[in-house]
């Protein structure tokens, strides 16, 4: 028996020793984990992982763990479900239309407050205005701008050449878009003139902003929860009626919501494409032809030209985490806001660099000279007049509203409804949702 005991004891000791040995390289064990849920897929997912790796290797106390949770909507839904189970991640990436929902959720720790609590200085003034404005309330930044973009025009230079068009001159007006489209089609250079990604974001939210027209009352919703949609006014109706007419002629070819129409441009089917500036990276890899970019086309007089608005997503900090963990979150956010990091992120992904110093460095480093396509979005966002109509849109239930608008756009483009009728219906339904949201968020 004693013999057996000894054997057993020595086995246990060995186990303990092995365990101790295994845990020796273990400052890793002591690292505080920061959960970071995001919605970046494909190439962008890899960029996020690379970014996080840089942060994790830059210091020894915290380990950010990125987790891809599906598309934007699914990520938000997952975060909400987790919050309700008290299992929320520290950081969650939420797309721009979820901003109002997050601000009023009572479930987040505003970024400006987090940084103040942790006494980490960030020069908010250095951030570019159209981005900061979208995510601030009363001058305070609520979420950390992460991936911001704005829609631009992509065009197939090879097809332009084939159609006898100047491949260095993208169309600037809608009239030119029509003219060029018809040339592309009649010459056989492309089957359709142009298509669009994110129909509501590009063809309504941004078109209205660019022409200095309101999307909703109350300064596009920034001034109160009782805002009403105004997309069924003159320009909205005119533009949608025009798109529907072009759809019939083949000048415009609808390809679905989100990025579903990307293949129409990549396959050469359509000669022009309006989509997020963040697609530059993907097109550089995926396109087998020469392409260029231009600013979104406009109707010209009598409309004033304003700036376009941003899209993309920001990082929200969920509340209720211990201060020690919040410190890690704050350090990570500080890290991604650094000038060098911003430059790296922009060059890698095509998303906008959000600090003026980063933009300036890119300019002095001739980055934009060498990559003029990456400058298009900055020009469009900063060179027009910023007006209340172009600072962004802040609506409750905006995810659902965008869905309603896109459904009605499909009804219009499919010829089921006239532009006026479809937009009127979209406005009526959206206003009900705004009322519902206001009622659920009574303060």
């Amino acid at each position: 028996m004693p013999y057996v005991m000894t054997r057993w004891c020595s086995a246990a000791t060995t186990l303990l020793l092995v365990g101790a040995l295994l845990s020796v390289p273990g400052p890793a064990f002591a690292k505080t984990e920061i959960q970071f849920w995001h919605a970046m897929t494909g190439q962008l997912n890899e960029s996020v992982n690379a970014l996080v790796k840089q942060f994790n290797e830059s210091q020894a106390e915290y380990e950010v763990k990125p987790l891809q949770k599906g598309n934007y909507t699914e990520t938000l839904t997952a975060a909400i479900a987790a919050y309700r189970q008290r299992q929320a991640p520290h950081i969650v990436q939420v797309f721009e239309v979820g901003t109002q929902t997050m601000m009023l959720s009572g479930a987040v720790l505003p970024v400006y407050q987090l940084m103040k609590e942790q006494e980490i200085a960030v020069d908010w003034k250095d951030f570019i205005a159209p981005v900061v404005g979208y995510y601030s309330k009363d001058g305070n930044l609520y979420s950390m701008p992460f991936n911001s973009s704005t829609p631009i025009l992509y065009y197939n230079k090879d097809a332009f050449t084939k159609a006898g068009l100047d491949p260095s001159k993208p169309p600037q007006t809608w009239k030119q878009v029509e003219e060029y489209s018809k040339k592309l089609m009649s010459s056989g250079a492309a089957k359709c003139g142009f298509s669009t990604g994110w129909p509501s974001w590009v063809q309504l939210e941004n078109m209205l902003a660019l022409h200095d027209q309101p999307f909703a009352t109350k300064r596009n919703g920034f001034d109160g929860l009782d805002a009403q949609l105004q997309i069924n006014q003159e320009l909205g109706v005119k533009h949608l009626a025009q798109l529907a007419a072009w759809q019939k002629e083949g000048v415009f070819s609808y390809g679905g919501r989100r990025g579903d129409a990307d293949p129409k441009f990549l396959s050469g089917e359509c000669g022009m494409y309006m989509q997020s500036s963040a697609l530059i990276g993907g097109f550089t890899k995926g396109a087998t032809f020469k392409w260029g970019t231009g600013q979104l086309p406009a109707y010209g007089t009598p409309y004033k030209r304003a700036t376009s608005i941003i899209g993309g997503a920001t990082l929200w900090v969920m509340k209720g985490k211990p201060a020690a963990e919040n410190r890690g979150t704050a350090r990570f956010l500080k890290f991604i806001s650094d000038t060098n990091q911003q430059m790296w992120w922009h060059v890698t992904t095509g998303y906008l660099a959000i600090s003026n110093s980063a933009v300036k460095n890119l300019e002095t480093g001739y980055h934009f000279k060498k990559n003029p396509d990456q400058y298009t979005a900055f020009a469009q966002l900063t060179k027009g007049t910023a007006t209340p109509n172009s600072q962004g849109i802040r609506l409750g239930n905006f995810t659902q509203i965008r869905d309603v608008i896109e459904a009605e756009m499909e009804n219009i483009l499919g010829g089921k409804k006239t532009a006026k009728q479809g937009l009127d219906d979209a406005v009526a339904k959206s206003n009900d949702m705004l009322k519902e949201f206001a009622a659920a968020n009574k303060q």
Binding site: Y83, A407, K416, A440, N441
Partner: protein, 294 residues
């Protein structure tokens, strides 16, 4: 029927307990939760909720969009059921003929049932998508008609009906093969001797004899189409174009999980549940009379 008598009073309860537990945890409890949700207005993060009585229901019942989605659900469920049940009967009829390689055919016919609806949806998406699908590309050589279901509602509806029916075909075929094989060959031979042709034999003998199976499958396919067609629709059309394929279960998901309006979503699930229960009861009361059990 023989009545079983248990000596121990508790044994029978203990024996059904596991099944009851499963039913309560996975069916009754969620059903009660949605019933409770249906009378509240809940903020997205669930931290504020107000009792609103029947508000969620009255709002739904005064919304023309909701009725449109109910009608759409019946069109969808009717289409799926007709296609999946009739198609299965025809295919099972063929798969009970005396042909070479029968086992192979039967196995292949059952395969689609092993494919998850969402995966089936993705398969259809890759075949039919106007931007990157292979079939529209070939169709464009044959006809000038543009089958762009991103804009044409009826094409989209047809597509999701066919896709959903396809996923359920294998299940139905299995039942029909069993049913057809159970018909005594003597009955059919007798009809043959009496001079009945293949069509007459089918209408007078085969169809009535498999009618219990048909009835069971119709009920089951209906319920399936109302509740479990979510995967296909989410993968292929997401309810679009417009709301052309937004059937009740999809609208419920969209309002609840995308719109974060959990109250309305709860109310919709209660109505959907009531509707399907009612439908099944009706089927049992009226259709069952026409069924010949042996």
């Amino acid at each position: 029927m023989q009545r079983t008598v248990f000596r121990n009073r508790w044994l029978p309860y203990a024996l059904v307990a596991p099944q009851m537990a499963v039913t309560v945890i996975f069916f009754v409890w969620p059903a009660l939760t949605s019933l409770q949700l249906a009378v509240y207005r809940v903020s997205p993060f669930g931290d504020r909720s107000t009792f609103v009585g029947l508000d969620n229901f009255t709002k739904l019942l005064s919304d023309p969009d909701y009725y449109a989605s109910v009608v759409r659900s019946f069109v969808f469920a009717g289409g799926v059921t007709a296609l999946a049940v009739l198609g299965a009967l025809v295919l099972a009829g063929l798969a009970t003929q005396k042909i070479r390689g029968l086992a192979v055919y039967r196995t292949l016919l059952l395969w689609p049932y092993g494919i998850a609806p969402a995966v089936a949806g993705i398969i259809f998406l890759f075949i039919f998508h106007p931007a990157y699908g292979i079939l529209p590309y070939f169709l464009s050589f044959v006809t000038a008609y543009d089958f762009n279901w991103l804009l044409k509602g009826w094409v989209a509806m047809t597509l999701v009906i066919v896709a959903t029916a396809w996923t359920h075909l294998g299940y139905n075929i299995a039942f029909y093969i069993a049913g057809l094989l159970a018909i005594p060959s003597s009955v059919i031979e007798a009809a043959d001797v009496d001079g009945a042709g293949p069509i007459r034999r089918f209408t007078a003998i085969v169809f009535p004899l498999v009618s219990p199976i048909t009835f069971y499958l119709v009920v089951l396919n209906m319920v399936f189409a109302f509740f479990e067609s979510f995967g296909v629709i989410d993968a292929v059309t997401k309810g679009g174009p417009g709301q052309a394929t937004e059937i009740m279960v999809y609208k419920l998901y969209k309002d609840g999980f995308i719109g974060l309006n959990l109250g309305s979503s709860g109310a919709q699930s209660v109505i959907l549940m009531a509707l399907v229960i009612g439908l099944t009861v009706l089927q049992f009361r009226f259709a069952e009379k026409k069924v010949t059990y042996r």
